[in-house]
C-alpha cells in the first residue's frame, strides 16, 4: 500500500472513530442533557430543540476536546450555554414545572401501592421545593444531585469558583430543608 493510500486508510479510520465517539457520547449524555434542559427551561419541547442544538455544537467541537475527565462538564456547559443563548434571544419565559413533568412523575413502579404513594408524595414535595429555588441555586442541585456532576465539574459548567459552588449548594440545601419542613407542616395540618 502506498504512503498516501495508507494515510487515507488511517484518516478514514480516524473519521470513523470520530463518528463512533460522537455516537457513543450522544448515547451516553443525551438523556441527561435533555433532563437537565427540561428542568432549567421548564419546557419539554424547547428542551428537545436545545438538546439537538447542544449536540450539534458538540459535533462541531468534539475534535477540540481533550481529556475524558472534562468531557461531562463540557457537555453540560454547552447545554447550559445553548439555554442561556436561547433565553437571551427569546426573553425568559417561565412555565410551571408541572406542565413539563406531565404524566412522567406519576410513574408508580414501586413494590406496593402504599410505598408508591409515599414516594410519589415525597417526589412531588421535593420537586415543588426544588422548583421554588432561585435559578442559581437550583442549577447546582440539578447538576450535582440529578446529573451526578462533582463540585469540580460544576465549577467547569458554571464557570464560577469552587467556593461559590459550595456556598450555593449549602444555601440551596438550607432553603430546601425549610421548604420541605413547610410542606410537611402543611400536610400535617390537613
Amino acid at each position: 500500500m502506498s504512503t498516501t493510500a495508507r494515510d487515507a486508510a488511517i484518516a478514514a479510520k480516524r473519521l470513523a472513530r470520530e463518528k463512533s465517539s460522537f455516537d457513543s457520547l450522544a448515547r451516553r449524555f443525551y438523556a441527561g442533557v435533555f433532563n437537565y434542559l427540561c428542568w432549567i427551561s421548564r419546557d419539554r419541547g424547547l428542551a428537545e430543540d436545545l438538546t439537538q442544538e447542544t449536540f450539534m455544537q458538540i459535533w462541531q467541537h468534539l475534535p477540540e476536546v481533550r481529556g475524558e475527565r472534562a468531557l461531562k462538564a463540557w457537555v453540560f456547559r454547552v447545554a447550559r450555554n445553548e439555554y442561556l443563548q436561547h433565553r437571551r434571544r427569546a426573553g425568559l419565559e417561565t412555565v410551571a414545572l408541572e406542565d413539563c413533568v406531565g404524566s412522567e412523575a406519576a410513574d408508580l413502579t414501586s413494590p406496593g401501592p402504599q410505598l408508591s404513594l409515599e414516594r410519589e408524595g415525597l417526589r412531588r414535595a421535593v420537586r415543588g421545593a426544588v422548583d421554588k429555588l432561585p435559578d442559581h441555586y437550583r442549577e447546582v442541585i440539578l447538576l450535582h444531585n440529578l446529573e451526578g456532576l462533582s463540585l469540580a465539574e460544576i465549577v467547569e459548567v458554571l464557570e464560577i469558583p469552587v467556593g461559590t459552588v459550595k456556598s450555593r449548594r449549602a444555601k440551596a440545601l438550607s432553603m430546601l430543608r425549610h421548604l420541605l419542613q413547610e410542606e410537611e407542616v402543611g400536610n400535617d395540618a390537613m
Binding site: 480516524r14 440529578l146 459550595k166
Partner: protein, 357 residues
Amino acid sequence: MRCDEARENLHGDAGRLGHARLGLHLLRCRACRAGAREIRALDSALSALPRFTPSAELLPAVLAQAQARRQTTETQKETRTMKRLAYAVAFLIIAGLLAGGLLTKARPPDGRALLISAAEAMEEAKTIHVVFRGTEAAPDSPTGFRMMPGRGEMWLSDRTVALRYVDSAGELLLASYLDCDTALWWVYDRSKQSLYEANLGAVRERLPQIVAKVSRRFRGEQLVEMMTTEYPDAQESVSTERHEGRLVRVVTFVYTHSKQPRHITARRVFEVDPETARLITARRYAKVEGAPEELIDSLDKVEYDVPMPPGLAEPRCPNDTQTIETSVTLEETSDTVSLVMQHNGVELGRMDTAKAD
C-alpha cells in the same frame, strides 16, 4: 479541623485527606454530625427528583442531524476555522480543492490513481510552495458559500511550516511561522492587531518530529483526511488538455450537496502533469440550478523543491501591531500530540499530530 471547615467539606470534594479529617471531626462534634445527617437526608430526598425522559425520536434525530452536518461541514467549517487558526485558512482551501478527487468513492480508477500519485508527489517533495486564493462570493450568491477573500502562500518543509494570507487589497490578514531550527512559533492576527510569539525551547527535543508531522499532514495525511467525505454520486471524468503550452491531465469530479438547504452542484477540477504526476492547479466551483457557477477557491500554483525564501521568519506586520509573548504547551492524548499556543487562557493556535505513523 474546625467546624466551619467541616461544614464546608460536608458538601463533598474534600479529597481523601480532607475526608479522613472530616471523619475525625464528626466523631468528636455532635453539631457537625447532625449537619452531616441532615445533608445526607436531603441528598436522599433529592434522589427522588423525577427525571424527564426524552421522546424516542430524540436520539435518532441527534444522530441523523450530526450525520447530515458531517456532509455539509466541509465548506461551512472553513469560515469558522479561519477565524480561529491561521494555518487552517491555507489548509482548508488546499484540502478542499483536493478533496473531491482522492476519496470520492464512486469513480473510475484513472482519476483517482492520478490524484493519489499527485498527493504522493506533494508528500515526497523536500519543500512545497503553494499559492492559493479564496474568492469573495457575490452578495446575492445563491450557493451561500463564503470563503475568506484574498490570497495566500504557504511554505512547507520537514523543518518549517509558514503561511501568509493577504486580503484583496494586499493587507496582511493572517500569518504564521513555525520552525524547529529557531524553536520559534508566531501567529499574526490582524483582527486582533497582535503578533503572538512563543519560544519553543521547552519542547525543542520534540520539535523536529512534531514539525515534520505537521508539515506532512498539510501535504498529505490531513489533506486526505479532509477528503474522506463521501460523495457516492460523484461523476468523474479525465481528459487531456493543453495548459500554457503543455499537455495536462484534467480530472473533474461533479457531485451534489443534497443535504444543503438548496440543491448545490459542486465541481472540482485538478490539473496534473502527466509526466511527473505533480499537481499543477486545483479549483472548486459551486452552482445552484438556474444560477451561474461560482468559483469558491483556487490553488493557483504548486512549486516543488524550491528553496525556502529568505526572511520567511520575519513577521513583517503593520506598524500598529502589538507583540505579545505567549506560552506553548505540549498536550498528549493516547492518539495525538499537540502544540497549543495560548494567551490569557485563550487558545490562539494548535498544531495536532497523530502519534501513529
